[in-house]
Subunit: 452 residues, 4 copies
């Protein structure tokens, strides 16, 4: 399928959508065909005179997409009608040149290499967005390295953290996903060229020489052997895309939770009409987070389809290969859209440190119960301190007092800790542990991974 | 996404693809809006004069899809820009009427009901194809009720069956899947109408009355309450589509195995150029089976996305709902394509009973080892007979004799079974058990489920 | 796999886990074998004297599970070593009876029917829990039919609803999922009995008669033909379990969001140590919601495995069938655990209407912006009213005033609405629309579905 | 869940199953606790006297698993009851030492690091099996580098290949999957240690120092920051396992197809009773292939669960994390079983070159249609040659002649190619193209990747 005019702009980055359009698919195959002619000329098979006519014909804009689609419906793939139409186009100007179109190749060679060429164009665009996103997160981490906020576990207030650490953790995940995508992408950019059953027998003794020249023409790696029914590297690329989208889903989940009216600590940037409601003028819907979460929701199933399609029969399978055709492009499009939205959201994120501070106070100081436990535990032992603070916490809840007030009034506490130490132990910004150190470690990794 | 010009004709039935095009999505929502105005007029909210201008404007062809897509990218859904554009269109001819567009509804009401209206149009088309497929299978079962062939388990020759029974089993599965789809479809055809958070508060005391009138206008069921974040019935419909596609995948798997050059017992009908290879003129690729298997390979992941999206937050969620928008339509399109190909394949199936008979003989009669075991077991007991036949089978393999010859020469066998009984026991068409009875039972169910 | 001693009690209901233990699997197959002997006796094949010895031996406790496992590792399924061991056990007391063990059946007959017998035992237990859960939700819906709370869409405050309506919507989903499970369960409870390749040829002319007697013995439906490689009904049951678990995941998602420290409107019942944290004594972790959400997270992938396994080869497949063996039981166990936790949570739910009321006031009345829009819209038209309220909302936010105060001070408002009407329009309990009506409709459905 | 006594031996490698048993899970956490005490002693927190009592108590065999399970059911994870029980065990001998158990850690630290320690033990075992499998495939590729067989595409005979090339392609896939697993494994072996919300605040200024010492104690990498809700590396490991299992599924699919009675070109090694049928003594079921295919069928859904669980809330999530607990161990167990079976199958593979040669002849030479096309194409041009051969192929089929005979009798052919050249062009072993070259390239990669 191709991008929807209605949903595409919401769900996909436009440049990526264009690469994976019908035109883009066709052009990928056509680029394979012209490079094949050039490579076969270098090896001495195709005459020089054939090159220009083939190159001139091999432009997607010259083809009737609907006619190719009808041809694909009966041939079972898009390469067969493409080769026929290309041959006819070439023959119209140079019948002799037309003899050499697609020489020695099989339809899967054109389709697989065409896909790889689309990936070759698309991956740098994703990488560029990933760089922007990482930079935006690094800036948030630096800026808020000392901004205390509620740390939440199981959706409950736990202990204080900083917003800088939260951003640094997002960044660490993005760096991991970026590394994975780069590796998987590098490995996937390999030529497919094997002929009918992967022996290149159609080229006699010249098969390998043509393959080498062709890989060079297209700036692709030459695999040890054709991979018509060995799909590891494409599936692995799909997994890297799913991992990235999952990571972005984590960012979006956190963002949507922070944007809750009940929390209100950070917001996607407002735009004209962005996320507005038709009947509730005060609402500010997390549109970017919704897109990223929907992509994260769709990707696991899509990547499962790729894994499920791995067991392709013999030298070239049926069904499994066909299942990839629309799935992997869709995954690139969805990943690009999620990435686009999260990059925009994090680049313009509106952070509300005041609300963060207010929310830290919402439990009457109970969020520092562990701090009190640890401070008392040094003297009383972990379990005794834990029991004491548990009792105090219950009293604080029951009598609507602050934990500080309850503890200060408790003689067991006074015996173990003087008033000043107790007060210090109960300040959020004094119970941040390694938050800054962890943040700096992640920032250093980001710095190291970013060329000047 | 929408249908690819290149892949759509191969993977999807054209009528279904059209219903789930961008135009189809938009028209579904517009049909909701016009029906809403009519319903609100019946209840006394919207003046009669507003109806014609709204109806006149509510034609998908009058809208700029790209502009709506741009609007959706910032609003977060397609209904918000649709309502704006519709209001503007109406206002151009009748500003007073424009006041009443979308009165009291929320964007999800338009999108969900619009989808349900698309389903209302699509499901009967699937049902019609299912009827044709079932009829084709019933005909095969009848025709070949006495055609012996190899029964294969674990891809090994096991015991004889009939091709009629194989077709009957395919039919039984198709009938099951058809029943499930009919039930799920019936339940899914329900109105969505709840306003901002499912209370219809925007309509004061008239909410339920409008809802009743609206359901009537659209020939949809009225649910007990709005289902903005309760997606059971849509997910269940998705599951029924996946089940159908899985069933068709089973048919396609069998067909692709029967079409193997090494087996050659049944073939998809040949068409001009259908399944031809560009370099191997003798090949006959199972194109229909490939499409059905690819759909069966993609569906489990797609339906998993629907199940995964069920946990939608509170009154209307984010991410989960968005994940459905493109997924369910894609499932309908893929199911329709698979169904189309299998209907065509089974309607024109070329069966080769001669080859079936030849293949029955390929193991030198070992395929009747169980028959021999059972015949001897009546006298010798199961285990003794089993051991005796196992020994004979090994000898038949080692000495390249038929099982019949080995057994006939074995005095233990002669003691238990006379020569004529042995010969009879080793005829494939004498070891078919209930094949005919089971076939007739399935045919009777088909008969009963088919109105005249 | 079987239940973990460590994780099982958290993730699974114990009775269901027991049914799907190794012992339960073995006993299911053994029950098939004894019933088969009885059925074959009724038809005149097996002598009466063989029945008691077979029945006496067919107790799971008498078998060495590890030895059977070793046998399965080489035979490729558990029925083959079970039949051998059962035959040996019978032979030890009655060699003549041992001849008749498993007469005419194939290993898949024993395994499939054994599984169906486990389902026959398990489904009523799920149904009973579903009834309790539905009752708990109905009670919540009744009790809180007039308890106003914030309606949340996109995780933003939208308009008021009642907690009764929220509970009613949960109930409506549970009723849908219960209906689906009941239907799918009913259809799945069918005998498997086909012999080597589904013809029952091993029983000569008596196959169907034995099958009928056997179905009767086991209180199972007799299918039109064996279903060795037609898995629709089992897969459909899996889908119904996934749907139920998805529904419970929706309940759990809402519950976990309501339990947020930042929201605090409803809580799972507290138990001794339930959900406690080892270091944060004040925390109250949503343990039940976590279990239900984890099941909802695991199920889509598990049901996808079942759908993916549908395309089983010919008369009995390889790989696909094997993929079901551990998957479907695991799904029943996970569904049971999720159901158990949600039943417990909803039966003892602690609701805090005071906090609900407080949260309604958190936006300074902006949650009633739509109410104001609708009230003004009747006079001013939808778009004008919308713009006016949008402007007022912005001012309310900017100047930290209530929406009421801003609107009351706006002459455009006063011109359209008198002060009393404005005040009334801005009360949450006056903007609940059909909340009560919808709640009552769902309760009526529950009532109708519940026998006295 | 843990291994089934009945199914485990079939589906899982026993050493891996043991590592991921209940005992193994518990011991992983206990090893974390003892290492934590040692690390905190090195930093000066825990007194030396506490080390021995903690180490002595931290043996899984000393714990009551069922009691821990009951504790987990109410606490919501297994670490909380483990810490309680461990503290009690230590206290029984040394109450002072008991104070220091789990000091400063959170339950997720113990569970995550425990899991990583299980992975640390398991991955080398998988790597060793992968090495054996690769060696077996390399041997097959070498041995059969010149064994011609049918190349099959779309399950149709296409052109000749060698069995050596087929084995080399299997090998290339296995090497890819092995590389991916090694990388993902290396990255996943990292310490988890962050305390309640990932700041290690409980350890004051010593958090990082303890973390460094702890990573060293356990030979694990120290991450830049804790990864409680950043699951990329575990999910990525899951993806690498799914990729491996998919690759093994491809091997198994091919093997099961080659083992078909109708093909009979290669077989899993026979063992005593291995793959035997209870009623068909001649059958030889592909048990190993069935296991590998069932794992390949289950894994896509399982890995989808991991991807779906990535969006974990804030500092520590609920539901998503819980969904990993049983899923990742199950994936390791299934991957190990599939690997075990394919290693055994490929190490003892029975190859039948005679049958391969026979099958090459089954199409009366049509398998060399492309060879004829290419030979004629050099003179006549691709399309003319293609048409000529297509016509000849049809005649060969219609008149049951060999392609050779038809072509030899065709004057257009004689004009383009002399009789000897025609005969040579139609020998399978003369139309193998780069089969040997590709095989050698893959073998060279294997050689290079294998230390002496």
């Amino acid at each position: 399928m191709t991008s929807s005019l209605l949903f595409g702009p919401l769900f996909e980055a436009p440049e990526i959508a264009e690469i994976f359009s019908d035109q883009g698919h066709l052009q990928g195959m056509l680029d394979f065909e012209t490079a094949l002619a050039r490579a076969e000329h270098r090896v001495g098979i195709v005459p020089e005179t054939a090159l220009a006519p083939i190159a001139a014909a091999a432009e997607a804009g010259k083809f009737d997409l609907a006619a190719l689609g009808a041809g694909a419906a009966s041939a079972g793939n898009t390469a067969i009608p493409m080769v026929k139409a290309l041959t006819a186009l070439v023959a119209a100007t140079d019948p002799e040149a037309a003899r050499w179109v697609h020489w020695g190749a099989t339809s899967q060679d054109a389709m697989d290499t065409g896909l790889v060429l689309q990936l070759q164009a698309a991956l740098p665009l994703l990488e560029a967005d990933l760089r922007r996103l990482a930079q935006a997160l690094a800036t948030l981490a630096e800026t808020h390295i000392a901004t205390p906020m509620v740390g939440r576990t199981w959706l409950q207030h736990a202990v204080p953290i900083t917003f800088g650490l939260k951003a640094a953790n997002w960044l660490a995940s993005v760096l991991d996903a970026r590394d994975r995508l780069a590796e998987a992408g590098r490995r996937a950019l390999q030529l497919q060229f094997g002929g009918a059953a992967g022996t290149l027998a159609s080229l006699g003794a010249q098969g390998l020489a043509v393959a080498e020249a062709l890989a060079e023409e297209l700036s692709l790696a030459l695999p040890d052997s054709p991979w018509h029914s060995r799909r590891e590297r494409l599936v692995d690329l799909g997994a890297a895309l799913a991992l990235l989208t999952g990571t972005l889903g984590k960012l979006a989940r956190d963002l949507s939770l922070l944007m809750q009216t009940d929390v209100g600590e950070a917001f996607e940037p407002a735009g004209a009409g962005k996320g507005g409601s038709s009947t509730m003028p005060h609402k500010r819907n997390p549109v970017g987070a919704a897109v990223a979460l929907s992509a994260a929701s769709r990707m696991p199933g899509l990547v499962a389809s790729l894994f499920a399609a791995q067991a392709q029969e013999h030298e070239r399978g049926l069904g499994g290969w066909h299942a990839e055709w629309e799935t992997l492009p869709l995954m690139l499009r969805l990943a690009s859209g999620s990435l686009h939205h999260m990059t925009e959201a994090m680049s313009g994120l509106e952070v509300d440190p005041t609300r963060m501070a207010e929310n830290l106070g919402r439990t009457n100081g109970l969020i520092l119960a562990e701090a009190a436990s640890m401070a008392l535990g040094a003297t009383l032992g972990r379990e005794a301190a834990h029991r004491l603070v548990e009792r105090a916490s219950k009293r604080a809840v029951a009598e609507e007092m602050t934990l500080h007030a309850v503890l200060a009034a408790d003689p067991d506490v006074s015996a173990a800790l003087d008033a000043e130490s107790l007060a210090r132990a109960l300040r959020p910004d004094h119970y941040l542990g390694m938050a800054e150190a962890f943040t700096r470690r992640v920032l250093a990794r980001h710095q190291a991974s970013t060329p000047d």
